[in-house]
């Protein structure tokens, strides 16, 4: 098991190298940060001076090698947008906000999908199933952007139950959390429903019924546990996606997390910050994948990593 984990961690290195190379090149060919920084009043000599100061006049491969050399010493570069403050610090200080939003989104997803998935499976082809299935299709079809604005209009502006945006009040996390978790809730509901339906056809469930076990015991102890594998997989993979992909939700709710930072950094070609976010997100996604793989063997002892 330990060998497997070490092997997986070693595998991350070439992937991270590839990620840094792709994001480095893409950022540099798609726009000029100097023009954005200096604004429309900039004088040509100022532009040249800043390009020189940032090393942007050097060939791309030299810039990349310099960047990688700095990266190996833990220097992620400095933010252009934030007057030269360390990019890693700028990104890391946003991590708690995004983590709390992702956790809330995940919580909503689980709290909604668990009962909805079970009910839909148990009441297959009946009204409860139709309602749960319709909502899950709706949940996946609605873009986060639209859902967020609708939730703001109804629950914040009209009813005044929750703050419209920001992160300073305890209830601030509810609407963005719900927005972020809705797609995952829908996906998990459908996933749980189909897994449960499959499991409920198995012989051991019939055996359990024949033993006279109650419906709830059958579901919780036998069916749910066996259906949990795919459910957990999706949660694991999507949790990292929630962390890395809260971009739209954070923008709509002015939630000061990594997603909002990413948009602003991309728009202003704040290269060091974008690179740091991408590297950090890659590490999070790969780590979550690894954790899910390890958890497999815990949930299902038949799976062995060695």
């Amino acid at each position: 098991m330990i060998n497997y984990v070490i092997w997986r961690i070693l595998q991350m290195i070439p992937i991270l190298l590839g990620v840094t190379l792709i994001v480095f090149v893409l950022l540099r060919v798609s726009g000029d940060p100097v023009l954005l920084m200096l604004g429309e009043d900039a004088q040509p000599e100022q532009i040249e001076a800043l390009r020189l100061a940032l090393g942007l006049n050097k060939p791309l491969y030299q810039q990349y090698l310099m960047y990688m050399a700095d990266l190996l010493t833990g220097d992620f570069g400095n933010s252009l947008r934030y007057n030269g403050q360390p990019a890693l610090q700028v990104v890391l200080e946003r991590l708690p906000a995004t983590a709390s939003l992702a956790a809330t989104g995940l919580l909503f997803a689980v709290v909604i999908s668990l009962p909805a998935g079970i009910v839909a499976a148990l009441k297959q082809h009946r009204m409860a199933d139709h309602i749960a299935s319709s909502f899950s299709i709706l949940g996946q079809a609605m873009p986060n952007f639209w859902l967020g604005i609708m939730l703001i209009l109804i629950f914040a502006v009209t009813l005044g139950w929750f703050p419209v945006s920001g992160s300073d009040k305890p209830l601030s996390v509810v609407l963005p959390g719900l927005t972020l978790g809705s797609g995952l809730a829908a996906m998990l509901t459908r996933m749980l429903r189909s897994s449960l339906l499959e499991v409920m056809q198995q012989d051991y469930i019939r055996t359990a019924r024949a033993k006279g076990l109650s419906q709830s015991t059958i579901i919780v102890r036998h069916a749910l546990r066996n259906a949990a594998l795919s459910y957990l997989t999706v949660i694991g993979l999507e949790a990292s996606a929630l962390m890395a992909g809260a971009v739209v939700t954070e923008q709509v709710f002015a939630w000061p997390g990594i997603g909002l930072l990413a948009i602003q950094a991309i728009n202003s070609r704040d290269m060091a910050v974008v690179q740091t976010i991408v590297i950090l997100s890659s590490v999070i996604v790969m780590s979550m994948n690894l954790i899910v793989d390890i958890l497999y063997s815990v949930v299902d002892p038949r799976i062995q990593h060695g």
Binding site: M37, Y82, Q85, P163
Partner: protein
Amino acid sequence: MKRRLFAGMMPKVAAIMLASAGLSAAQARDLVVAQGIDVPGFDIHNHSTTAVEAIFVNIFDYLVMRDGKGDLQPALATSWEQVSDTAMRFKLREGVLFHNGKELKAEDVKFSIERPALDKNVMQNSFYNTIKEVEIVNDREVIIHTKGPDPILLNRLSRIGSGIVPKHYVDEVGWNGFATRPIGSGPFKFVEWKRDDRVVMEAFDKHWRGRPVWDKLIHRTIPEDSTRVGELLSGGVDIATNIPSQDVERVNSSGKAVTKPWQSFRVMTLFANMKEGSPLADPRVREAVDLAIDEKALIDTAMSGLGVPVRGSVAPGLSAVPMDLHNTYLYDPDRAVKLLTDAGYGPGQLSIKLQGPSGRYALDVEMMEVIAVMLEAVGIKVEIEALEWSAYQSRIWEPNKIEGLALIGHSNSLQDGFHAVQRARCGYEFSKKTGWCDKRFDELVNQSAVTVDPKKRDEYLSEAFHRLTDSRSILFLFQVQNIIGINRAVAWDPSPDEQLWMFDAKPASN
């Protein structure tokens, strides 16, 4: 006697209680202002955005400041006089304190103004490099020496980067330290900055104008327009900038907030590639394009009526600009067709690429679509290319990258005619983009830069403006008008310099 005394005191006590109740009611509120952008930090010389200075203006003081009408007024400087063509003396206000309690003196003014003037590495250098030295006469008096005559020195000293900072504090913490914990002498002092979320300021009790009526001033960053409107309607913010035109009705009918027009100095233009080989090198084609665009209809359709047609970079509140180019436009599609025919282009024979940004200016893509329809109506085929801002900016900055027409909006942070046209001189940015070069124009603009006599300066610049307009190297469309939303409980009028000067904001009396 005792009873009479008591009875006599009652109305006074009641009056004091009422007054203090009224005062506390007025002061018990925080004022929350929302814009779409965050500050990059508080290094005041290293940013280039009016919307950022709009926040700074509450923390830092300037030697001179513009009032609500855009006129220059004494601030830290109580008076000033031109002592020679290249020197201006400023008397400084007495008893001005920084937020840390230290007194503001001439050495702080010297330190604050000389940095952007002499340090080529700060972003604001190009706006201050006409200044040679700030001479300290005594603690209350400075003389600013310029390299040559500088008729717009006062414009420079009332704009981005001219805030006065405490020298001793910057010496102590460095500019990096200052960038995260600034100290000024403005009506509000810095408390907290949470990136991409909020800047919290609180009233500075010892401010020389008096204490602001608000306990706290909170600037929130809300990038999404609809969310900003939602916050305004729910009372979460008191003032929200850049309300989309489609939300104006909703805000005004809410009973909670009102919208007000917010004049901008930004003028939308089309830059024409008139270099060799381009069809727009033919003046008849450029004139045809100019006459084919109905600016009034463009404003009414694409911009929901927000904007004023112009034929130059002119707007009320700018000095030394010919206002006969404001609120006017030329539209004559029949003549446009004739001009195109004379130039050898029948209907559909001329194709022009119209480039522009997507999402940089309000409704920029819609603007291009309406312009394309208008040009097609006179027989010009139009290909629209809308790009994300940084990609677009990189493209149009390089010489020869504008293929046909390019949509560009320019503001005027110096609030003066010179700044509006100086970049159209041969070899400068606008000239490089369009290929237009006119020696007479250059002479006029260069003369205006060193002419202190306002009347003569107006004459030079007026002729220069008209030469640029007549060249049609740049086709001027309209002066942009933004919309600001204000809670009904707040009385505040936006000023034309786009600054969010909240010392003037008061609780509404009704």
